[in-house]
Symmetry: C2
Subunit: 205 residues, 2 copies
């Protein structure tokens, strides 16, 4: 296909496609003359992945490059590629307290979760526990375990629906579903709270 | 107690306490001279609520005022006060599509949830569904129902632990737990995804 069709199929405007070509994020098409080239389905998949990383994941181009390098390195197992994508879309923040990190590690051991020692998720969770401590509303261990049980149930249903036929599709879906399902879950939780509060407190003041 | 103790107990610095007094967010203490006043436990509770709204909820003072007015109006039932607080901490964004709003309303009817017709949670959820549609990864109705079932289970456990002895405490806890538990849930979900992916994809490329 020509570049105009590539742009339409991927939802990325032509000037942006040219920019990604210049930056080396998108491999060149097959040249058919001095100024024209033909693009393939691989290019569509790659552009759709870049678009998800930028628009949904909020990644800067340097981080997009890091994710694409992992996707392109055939020696990196898919679950590690997904780990690179997940860490790229996670906010960097202050270091968590040793105490909260130890709580997180105890939880991981208790559940026998396979979580990489350098996983960004350990740090993000420990920081979230610190924030609750700081607000004088520490999360009890049984509540933390309850939440872990709940999300395990979610993950067992969610992960198998990821399309792993190509690592680009798998990374794109993982990023989309990590980022875009999160607001759905949070809005539903707030709504369920509204329902339960309304039922319990209708006549209370 | 004197203002210095009030500041220490509430975690709000003295200059900020004085600012809240001037702005009328905090009622004056009992005057004991030309320049001194005595403050009560009510002041501590009020300041802790303001601090949670500002630091955790990210509210501007105008919105803090709106929440406090609902807290102070004894004619407003507690669940409506909590609704005011919840809408104050929810981001305002573009209007959702009619199609997604209709999906949300169908879900509310199906679950017989008591959700106010003007609840900000309807809008936020519909916008989140729109974002998935835009990414060509629309959430199927059965997945949406599954998530609703999951968060219902959470809310039934979470809401009864809110301390409703005073509406200030109830609002403060609701805001803290809405905002601060959310990152815990999301980090746990990402971690559970890491575990399930790692188990399933260890040898996949």
């Amino acid at each position: 296909m020509w570049m105009s069709e590539l742009a339409a199929r991927s939802g990325v405007p032509v000037p942006t496609v040219k920019y990604y070509l210049r930056e080396g994020l998108l491999p060149p098409g097959e040249a058919t003359g001095a100024t024209r080239a033909i693009y393939s389905e691989d290019h569509v998949r790659r552009l759709r992945l870049i678009r998800a990383l930028v628009e949904v994941g909020g990644l800067r181009l340097a981080d997009v490059n890091r994710v694409l390098a992992a996707v392109d390195d055939s020696g990196t197992p898919l679950h590690e590629v997904l780990g690179v994508a997940q860490s790229a879309i996670s906010p960097v923040g202050p270091s968590p307290s040793a105490r909260s990190l130890e709580r997180v590690d105890a939880l991981i051991r208790r559940r026998r979760w396979r979580v990489a020692p350098d996983s960004v998720n350990r740090t993000v969770l420990a920081r979230a526990l610190d924030a609750l401590d700081d607000a004088d509303d520490a999360l009890p261990d049984d509540a933390l375990s309850g939440y872990a049980e709940t999300v395990s149930g979610l993950a067992e249903v969610e992960v198998p629906t990821i399309d792993t036929t190509s690592s680009e599709t798998a990374v794109r879906q993982t990023v989309l579903r990590t980022v875009l399902i999160e607001p759905v879950l949070l809005a539903l939780r707030r709504m369920a709270h509204e329902h339960v509060s309304s039922r319990a407190l209708r006549r209370r003041r």
